[in-house]
Amino acid sequence: MKRREFLKFALSSLLLGGMSKSIFAKEPPVVSVTEGKDYAAITRNVIAALGGMQRFVKQGHVVVVKPNIGWDRRPEYAATTHPLVVRAIVEECIKAGAKKVKVFDNPCNDPRRTYVNSGILEALKGLRNVELKHTENERFKNTKMNGVFLKEWPLYDEALSADVFINVPVAKHHGLTRLTLGLKNIMGIMGGSRGYIHRSIDDALIDVNTVVKSHLVIIDATRILLDHGPQGGNLRDAKILNRVIASTDIVAADAYATTLFNLHPQDISTTVTAYKRGMGEINLNKIRIIKV
């Protein structure tokens, strides 16, 4: 009897387990893509295609929007997130009921210059409940990560405490990781001597992305940087695509954006590492792509 019971149990659980997989199969991750010359409009549309900002931002939420403002370059050089994209996202957050939207980066160049030259300071001027902030040293909190490479690192408290974290990278070339997209954009919330993580950058980035999850990733591909990244400086290296990509799955978003460079998602080791560590989907045929 005992054996039979055991077998019954084992069999049924096996069946159930197998069945649940097919019955409750996870929805494939969605990546929405828009194209157009009105950057504010395509940004709003790309969010709408995912169900609108109210899906992520609820009344009274504190939202962090993290664009790439890393370099002292004007928008047309494709080294920083386009100001109109940032503005549209911020406005959507406010419309969805956000109590406060904080926008910041921890730039490589002088922060004052990057905020001005990227056009983002000007674009966000006068918006209510929106703060474009300079990072302050005391706010980097030494955070236990127990990651694969990083055990501990100072991360920015406002990113850690935000209700919603929206990751807004610009798609561009990078000398080490080949491309820098959503997964790499997270470096902007890191303090300390960030150059250190270059020695094992893929795992380090995934470690940080594990601690601070991006609820929404919106990749600015209005213009992309093809070479001499991540800071460019040559208009020849910038290509205008007029596209914006959004997803809740950071790996899927990065994987799709990779194709804009005529590269395969598997070529980018950061994306591959993220996929292997279960952060999201890399296979384009397992991703539902909505073109608006």
Binding site: E136, S161, N234
Partner: protein
């Protein structure tokens, strides 16, 4: 309470001084239209020494020439009406009890000082900035007081965070306002901070002995203006103490050491007109000839020749510098000729204040003793921001040329060199590329060579090894600044000066 127009002018100029001082900083615009450099451009001492050392005149300094001419006609009004150091002396030490004057200072010391400086300038070593009153004041502010001020507020602000955490954001806008409009964006503590500050303190300390002690007995600018004022048409009447009153002896801060008014010391503060009980005192344009009796010390051959000899001596005595100090001597962008720089630099520290990434520091011994307070770049502590040319904009004498941005980007500060013994991909077979990533040159002056090698486990890896392209590198130093190695950087910027230029003849 009645107040003289000189006082009002003093306060106005002090306000302008502080306004310009705070404005001499990146505040969101690529151009700084008004900077504290204006004070140097009207400073006759700076202008004169520039002319002597460069043997030419530049348009920037024409206001100083005008001031020189005005001073000939009007006397030392600069000291009593404009000079911010004088105003600060008046404000801070007004109540200080005076003991007896120091005898030693009552000699021709200030003329020796003045002539030594001027003759040294003539011999191509412009040291005027070390003792120029405005430079002394500005250096004390830039190198010490202003960073200290910024630091105290920043530390309190940071401390507030540790107490109330994110609630601090409720007054965040107040702090942002301070940071954006008043404070230095980041406070840097400088070498020579103590000396710079002590020079100012010493000047204030001298007030214990006598009113306006520095102005009257030491200040080379004051001495120069005093000499010029001999020809002044603008005279005080009566020219000596009235026998029935003599109150002026107490009232006057500078000019009544003797019975007769010393025109060369009168700073036209007008206190005597205000305080005269009998309404006797007048200042009027009376033409020449009233008080010829004061003998002009610069006509004393002793002082003139003494200044000449010591000026020559000073200009040569400290000229030794070891060549190794030149290897890493990096000057601000656009400065190509070390000797030219020595002729023009006022050592005011404005470029250092304005430097966006705190790359510039005042030198102490690096270029010999007479390079003191002159700016040099320490590229491990900061770097030259590619899109910034503020140092050239604020330099009062054009010692750092005000280059258009595109030209500044191409001007050579130095040359980066990779140290393969330390650099990660070379020395440890670990990829890094931080220097390449930060190199601001669009074509990248640091390039990467991808090499397939085996790491210590025998696993194949692609190493990206950086190398520097000399034709493209401008020596901005961001690579050295950003190099993630602890301690010594694996890429360093070296001076590109030609050998013969480094060694003084």
């Amino acid at each position: 309470m009645k107040i003289t127009s000189a006082r009002i002018s003093q306060y106005l100029f002090l306000a302008v001084f502080f306004y310009l001082f705070i404005n001499t900083e990146y505040r969101g615009k690529d151009e700084i239209s008004f900077a504290i450099n204006s004070f140097f451009r009207v400073d006759p001492l700076v202008v004169l020494s520039f002319i002597l050392s460069k043997k030419t005149l530049i348009a920037l300094l024409i206001p100083g020439i005008l001031m020189l001419i005005f001073s000939i006609f009007l006397g030392r009004f600069f000291c009593g009406w404009i000079c911010p150091l004088g105003t600060i002396i008046d404000l801070t030490t007004d109540k200080l009890k005076k003991s007896i004057p120091i005898k030693f200072l009552k000699t021709n010391l200030k003329y020796y000082l003045l002539f030594t400086l001027l003759f040294a300038a003539l011999f191509n070593v412009n040291l005027v900035g070390i003792l120029d009153p405005i430079a002394i004041l500005i250096r004390a502010l830039i190198f010490f007081l202003y960073p200290l001020f910024g630091y105290s507020i920043r530390v309190s602000w940071a401390g507030l965070y540790s107490i109330i955490g994110e609630n601090r954001d409720y007054i965040g806008s107040l702090y942002s306002f301070l940071r954006d409009y008043i404070l230095p964006f980041r406070e840097t503590f400088y070498p020579l901070a103590f000396i710079s500050f002590m020079l100012l303190i010493a000047i204030l300390f001298l007030e214990r002995y006598e009113k306006r002690n520095w102005c009257k007995n030491l200040c080379p600018l004051g001495a120069l203006l005093g000499l010029l004022s001999r020809f002044s048409l603008f005279k005080r009447l009566p020219a000596k103490l009235c026998s029935d009153c003599k109150a002026c002896k107490e009232i006057c801060p500078t000019a009544f050491d003797e019975e007769i008014l010393q025109t060369k010391d009168c700073i036209l503060c007008m206190e005597c007109t205000l305080k005269c009980k009998f309404n006797r005192v007048k200042f009027s344009l009376t033409g020449t000839g009233k008080n010829k009796k004061t003998k002009a010390p610069f006509l004393e051959r002793r002082v003139f020749i003494g200044g000449l000899v010591s000026g020559f001596f000073v200009s040569r005595a400290f000229s030794f510098t070891s060549p190794s100090q030149y290897e890493r001597l990096l000057r601000p962008p656009g400065v190509t000729d070390e000797k030219e720089f020595l002729k023009k630099c006022v050592r005011c520290g404005e470029c250092i204040k304005v430097c966006l990434k705190s790359a510039l520091y005042p030198a102490f011994f690096q270029t010999g003793l007479y390079g003191m307070f002159m700016p040099h770049m320490i590229t491990r502590l900061g770097y030259c921001e590619y899109n910034c040319n503020l140092c050239g904009q604020v330099c009062p004498t054009g010692a750092i040329p005000n280059l258009p941005l595109e030209q500044k980007k191409k001007s050579i500060i130095g040359l980066a060199a990779v140290d393969k013994n330390h650099c990660l991909p070379y020395a440890k077979k670990i990829n890094c590329i931080v220097c390449e990533e930060h190199c601001p040159i669009p074509e990248k002056a640091i390039k990467l060579e991808s090499v397939v090698e085996r790491d210590y486990r025998g696993k194949k890896i692609i190493l990206k090894k950086p190398y520097v392209v000399e034709e493209l590198c401008n020596g901005c130093g961001i690579c050295e600044y950003m190099c993630p190695l602890e301690g010594k950087a694996a890429i360093e910027v070296f001076s590109k000066r030609k050998r013969d230029q480094a060694l003084r003849s």
